[in-house]
């Protein structure tokens, strides 16, 4: 494409007005493992595939869904190491906010600050954009919230969203299945069904991860036993 001459330098616009490196970053995200999130009336659920490169990898040591604060969790699609760096930065920002205002950081604020970091890496010299899109799930005074943050630094609040390899099928499925008054348990079932749609192989508690937050405002990653229970209910 004619843009290719402009695709080497991050900080140069192409004639069509795009920053091609960011497009490439989105491609990196699009080839990552599927992850999705659903906002229910009384909570939020986020889930992801956990396909390990080999059966020899100790799957208990891998955790893709991470806490940012006691009431905010996050999952990604794309490059794992970039995710680790972002999680570290976000945790620090949440902690600084708490230290300054003695108030747990609202979800929108944390998303905004994380998005600002991601944007900085699209407008600096010598760095590349992050190769991850994040789904941030939280429950604060404004109720349950779900945000998606892209490598460009743009973020949107979603009722349900998916990213990664199977994004188009997953989003179509979610559009059909989503209802405004869904409860958290229904949302978890829908999340599992959506993951199942494009899943290669047998879905089990060892190759997916689910995180949820309810009205108790405590973000938890489900144990494999709990995932097994939900899987049995879905069958």
């Amino acid at each position: 494409m004619g843009d290719s001459q402009y695709s080497f330098s991050l900080t140069t616009f192409s004639p069509s007005g795009k920053l091609v490196q960011i497009e490439h970053a989105l491609t990196a995200v699009g080839s990552g493992q599927t992850s999705l999130g659903i906002k229910a009336s009384n909570g939020v659920v986020i889930a992801t595939e956990k396909k390990l490169p080999s059966i020899l990898v100790d799957e208990a040591s891998v955790q893709k869904i991470q806490h940012l604060t006691p009431n905010i969790g996050t999952v990604y699609s794309g490059m794992g190491p970039d995710f680790r760096v972002l999680v570290r930065k976000s945790r620090k920002q949440a902690e600084q906010y708490l230290r300054l205002y003695k108030e747990p950081i609202p979800v929108t604020q944390l998303v905004r600050e994380t998005a600002t970091v991601m944007q900085e890496f699209t407008q600096s010299g010598g760095v590349r954009p992050f190769g991850v899109s994040l789904l941030v799930a939280g429950y604060d005074d404004k109720g349950p919230q779900l945000y998606q943050v892209d490598p460009s630094g743009s973020y949107f609040s979603w009722k349900a969203s998916a990213m990664g390899k199977n994004v188009s099928n997953a989003k179509t499925f979610l559009e059909k299945r989503y209802t405004e008054d869904m409860e958290l348990d229904d949302a978890i079932h829908t999340a599992i069904l959506t993951l199942k749609e494009g899943f290669e192989g047998e879905i089990s508690s060892k190759n997916i991860e689910i995180g949820k937050i309810g009205a108790d405002k405590i973000f938890r990653v489900l144990t494999p036993a709990e995932i097994d229970d939900y899987l049995a209910e879905v069958e």
């Binding site: 806490h67 945790r91 620090k92 902690e95 600084q96 906010y97 708490l98 230290r99 600050e113």
Partner: protein
């Protein structure tokens, strides 16, 4: 925006620029404001199942009691608490800062904080400020390696002890501990001994007073007993209240308008610019 939360001097460490200004001002005759100090009695001891910390609740500003019921036992982590003596602002700021660092560390490591971690973070900070941060602390808690109790001095040195006291009332409290402490105390015996030591500080030291706060930390549990004992209740409160003579102005209600009330009626159209 996150930069403004922590103002770090450009080269790191303490910036002594304002000290020259302060010297110049004192030479010119300006009396420096005194600090709000917690002339204090703080204690800690290790008992059979964990650690008990105790503190009095008086904060002094020179000869005046500034706060009759302040909190000197600060939260560091769910399993670690810290008593602070010295300048109240310093103890609060330093424990708040280290508590924040410990929380971040817990997220990164997915583990409970250890007392030795809190100890090292505190002593590094205090040492780098060369004793200008006037915080003398008794740090105690229970972690995976067991119960621990430490004292930290403003210059950054630390001790590890089975029982400890700090503050202006430390000698009074230590005399109680030295006489009655033994290993393997039960919870009730430990609380009784800590309360006795704090009371000894409250009654024998001018800088300590009011009530006794106690914090009991055991494996997986902590109990913050705020105002566990109140040995200085306010007696002789007159039930009649104050009675003024009938002529006292204060009992009259008189409203004096400061400005004439003027009614404004809108006439005509608004000015056109």
């Amino acid at each position: 925006m996150s930069q403004s939360a922590v103002d770090v001097p450009p080269k790191g460490g303490f910036s002594f620029d304002l000290c020259k200004r302060n010297d110049m001002l004192t030479q010119k005759g300006l009396k420096a404001p005194s600090f709000l100090k917690t002339g204090t009695t703080i204690v800690g001891l290790i008992f059979k199942d964990g650690v008990i910390l105790g503190a009095d609740t008086r904060a002094t500003e020179g000869p005046i009691v500034a706060d009759k019921n302040c909190e000197k036992i600060h939260y560091m982590a769910p399993n670690i608490y810290c008593c602070g003596a010295g300048t109240a602002a310093d103890t609060e700021a330093v424990t708040d800062m280290v508590s924040s660092q410990l929380r971040l560390h817990r997220y990164q490591t997915s583990r409970d904080s250890r007392i030795i971690t809190a100890l090292t973070l505190l002593k590094k900070h205090l040492f780098s400020y060369q004793g200008h941060v006037s915080a003398a602390l008794v740090l105690g808690g229970v972690d995976i390696t067991g119960p621990h109790l430490h004292t930290i001095y403003p210059h950054g040195s630390t001790d590890t002890l089975p029982f400890a006291t700090m503050g202006s009332g430390s000698l009074a409290a230590m005399s109680v501990f030295e006489a009655k402490y033994k290993e393997g105390l039960t919870r009730d015996e430990g609380i009784k001994l800590v309360a006795e030591a704090i009371c000894s500080g409250i009654f024998n030291d001018l800088g300590s007073g009011s009530n006794v706060d106690i914090c009991v930390i055991t494996k997986g549990n902590n109990e913050y007993l705020r105002n566990y004992m109140e040995p200085n209740p306010r007696t002789y409160v007159s039930s009649k209240g104050y009675s003024f003579t009938k002529k006292t102005e204060v009992l009259l209600t008189k409203i004096t308008p400061l400005l004439e009330r003027v009614e404004i009626t809108e006439v005509g159209e608004a000015m056109e610019e």
